[in-house]
């Protein structure tokens, strides 16, 4: 008997959505002691499937048909009360966002103890809480149990969430993108922890993810979802190395992997030289003790003409601040930013203006980086218009650029909300290109995108760079992406560049301990995606 059996599950979407069903005809089964990865892009219905099992679907998304069976018990037939008893006891869930999944006003220990209290086992709580915190490898469990969530890092909070989920030793653990919001090194630790606990206790894990690296790292079996349907499922080794369905193949082909073979380019003269750049944020003062956080402690690097330099690092390493310093969105306190030999740092707003045309930026969040009340055509043309290009000519240029980024010219007269994430990112790229820049700063341009869209945007960036001879500073947290697009990479940790060198060299022979740790944390290293 399977631990969990989902038969022909169909969940409706509210009328007016882009399809009739969020999930349609999904059948899955999960055995005890097995990890089943459900993979798909955003909107594929993978989280809906998990929430249907937990009985956590919102009212707008009713289950139309199908059977949900846990340990032979039909979940759909259960009363709300009976389902509540099962939740936490026989099945538990870990959520994506550890920063918001814990009650900020409750001590961590009390939150875990609550799980016992709710299921009428308050007596056991005291001893078990410390055991659990120890089981998820948190240092000093007694101290952690007394802390409030805000004292813990994202990785620690996710461990607490896992401890809560495991409190009553559930038979089924559902993990909904549990590592997506975490840094790569933390992600690896959490993946190992889940794997270890699962094999120790024989828990069945339904693991939802969009990342094939994670799948390769952890899965026993894989189900691939697209538009609410399962298009392919099978054992991990088979599905990853010999995918059958075209969609699975396309997804796997889009996974960035390893340094791409690229011709050695003779680096041109330096277009950008950054020396001793420093930016510290300070908080408090007046009544409280002043807290000083060095975002960028001291950064030195050069970027040759036509070269792409990747800046990689985890969150809080100062890589985004570095990018923002160069375009003066953030004003650094010290250092030199020499663009073609001229120091940009001391320049006033007016003196900067001529350089605005030559240094452009692409932003991370395609949903936030376009003004929602401005037509796409206007958004692309407004930069050149600001710099004195006649309106007609600027609009004409915008039209050409839309074609260049593979969008229909009719997009000119539409608003950003009518486009998908990937399309919006193309519009953002067109907006930057409209200025005909020499230097492009890309701040995590693909990290908010699905993997297949990510591959398209990366290909577009590579094409544009070659066509216009652009120099690019590419900020990313994803080493696989950096490996694919960058000529050289700089690794940042706590505001400092700890290692810099040609991509192949850094990846093959990392010199700094932190670089080695980062590289070791890339999920799915044992797996090389099959070539098309």
């Amino acid at each position: 008997m399977s631990l969990l059996r989902i038969d022909d599950l169909t969940v409706a979407l509210p009328p007016g959505a882009d399809r009739a069903h969020a999930v349609e005809g999904v059948s899955l089964h999960l055995d005890a002691g097995e990890i089943l990865c459900v993979v798909g892009e955003s909107g594929s219905g993978k989280s809906i499937t998990a929430n249907a099992v937990m009985g956590l679907l919102p009212k707008a998304l009713p289950v139309r048909s199908g059977r949900l069976e846990l340990l032979g018990q039909d979940l759909r037939g259960l009363s709300a009360e009976a389902l509540r008893k099962l939740r936490g006891d026989r099945m538990a869930m870990i959520f994506q966002e550890p920063m918001t999944a814990l009650n900020p006003l409750m001590r961590v220990g009390d939150q875990i103890a609550e799980v016992f209290a709710v299921h009428g086992q308050a007596g056991r709580a005291l001893a078990r809480v410390l055991e659990l915190l120890e089981a998820v490898r948190l240092p000093d469990p007694a101290a952690i149990a007394r802390s409030h969530p805000f004292r813990l890092s994202g990785g620690q909070r996710q461990r607490v969430m896992i401890a809560m989920a495991l409190a009553l030793e559930p038979a089924l653990l559902i993990a909904d993108e549990p590592t997506t919001a975490l840094d790569v090194t933390t992600q690896m630790q959490i993946l190992r922890l889940i794997r270890e606990i699962q094999s120790r206790r024989g828990t069945g894990v339904l693991f939802i993810t969009h990342d094939f690296g994670v799948v390769a790292e952890i899965a026993d079996r894989v189900a691939v979802m697209q538009h609410g349907r399962i298009v392919e499922q099978g054992p991990a080794a088979q599905l990853l190395n010999a995918p059958v369905h075209p969609y699975t193949r396309a997804l796997i082909a889009a996974v960035p992997h390893g340094p791409a073979a690229r011709p050695e380019r003779a680096a041109g003269p330096d277009i950008l030289q950054v020396r001793g750049l420093r930016k510290t944020y300070s908080r408090g003062g007046f009544f409280s003790r002043r807290v000083v956080v060095p975002a960028v402690a001291s950064a030195d690097f050069t970027l040759g003409r036509g070269e792409t330099l990747g800046v990689v690092g985890e969150s809080g390493s100062g890589k985004s601040t570095l990018a923002r310093c160069i375009v003066k969105l953030v004003v650094p306190e010290a250092g030199e930013i020499r663009f073609e030999g001229n120091d940009l740092r001391p320049l006033s707003r007016a003196a900067w203006k001529p350089y605005r045309a030559r240094v452009q930026m692409i932003f991370q969040d395609p949903y936030a980086s376009l003004n929602p009340r401005r037509l796409v055509g206007e958004a692309i043309a407004e930069g050149p218009i600001t710099h004195g290009v006649p309106r007609q000519e600027a609009l004409l240029r915008a039209r050409e650029l839309l074609a260049l980024v593979q969008l229909d010219p009719s997009a000119m007269r539409r608003y950003p909300h009518e486009f998908s994430g990937g399309q919006r990112q193309r519009i953002g790229i067109a907006r930057a290109l409209a200025m005909r820049p020499d230097l492009l700063i890309a701040d995590e341009p693909v990290s908010a995108l699905d993997v297949s869209v990510q591959a398209q945007v990366l290909a577009l960036l590579a094409d544009i760079r070659a066509r216009f001879g652009l120099s690019m500073l590419f900020i990313t947290h994803d080493l696989r992406v950096a490996a694919q697009i960058c000529d050289r990479v700089a690794v940042m940790q706590r505001g400092r560049i700890v290692e810099m060198g040609p991509t192949a060299q850094v990846f093959a022979a990392p010199a700094h301990a932190y670089t080695r740790e980062l590289l070791a944390s890339i999920p799915g290293q044992g797996w090389t995606p099959p070539l098309r």
């Binding site: 509210p14 959505a17 919102p58 707008a60 923002r324 375009v327 003066k328 969105l329 707003r349 900067w352 203006k353 605005r356 045309a357 240094v359 452009q360 930026m361 932003f363 991370q364 969040d365 949903y367 936030a368 980086s369 376009l370 003004n371 929602p372 009340r373 401005r374 407004e382 930069g383 600001t386 710099h387 909300h417 953002g428 907006r431 200025m435």
Partner: protein
Amino acid sequence: MSDFWRRYRRNKGAVVGLAGLLLVLLVAATAPLLFPGSPWDMAGAPFMPPGEMGMLLGSDSLGRDVAAGIAHGARISLMVGAVSTVAALSVGVTLGAVAGYCGGLVDDLVMRFTEFFQTIPSFVLAILLVAIFTPSITSVVAAIAIVSWPPVARVVRAEFLSLRGREFVQAAEVLGKSRLSIVLGDILPNALSPIIVLASLMVATAILLESALSFLGLGDPNLMTWGFLIGSGRSVIRIAWWMSVFPGLAIFVTVLSLNLVGEGLSDALNPRLARQRGGEA
């Protein structure tokens, strides 16, 4: 636009409010046709109950038609509400925008200045201002504007603070746009929704303030207003209830309508708050 109307219509109260507001506007617009001549003129015997001597809502202690007073008063009330709101918006939006966009020391200075006005009870300040500058329509409007801009400044500042950090504003900076064109072209249009909602509620508050001032005898002595009607009927309410009840009803209907409209606008402009979240907007 049709989408906006569809969302607005979903709030039944807002539709009723809109109808009420249109009715008041209609009365105000047609007052000179319905009641030609000055509302101060004697139209019949004093203390006539409603319906007698051709006066729908009765007459007051000097034989003036109450209905004419209400109709002409509607013009003044709406005018005072609109003009003082526009004045308060222009001050509040400007200061709020400067504070929110510049941040730092400028923000501190502007907000302390705003708090200075907020610490004084607004009605007392309004009475004081009107009393000092002699009651006239200009001083009444000015006093109402002066006491009602601080909330606008706070709302606008908060919107600007959050929008300033958004990536599309940063993108505009990187494109080299001037500060003014970023503020007017990128930030303000995205901050308009709460300003519009606030403005509709401010008109209602301004009408109430004006009525209260006139009630206390601090209205423009040459203009017939709702507050004045109630104030003059107050002493004889036991023998002539209609003198204060009908102007009171007029204030009630107008203010209620404006509040309902404000709530409807808020729902229609922030569809995600009104409904349960479903999909990206």
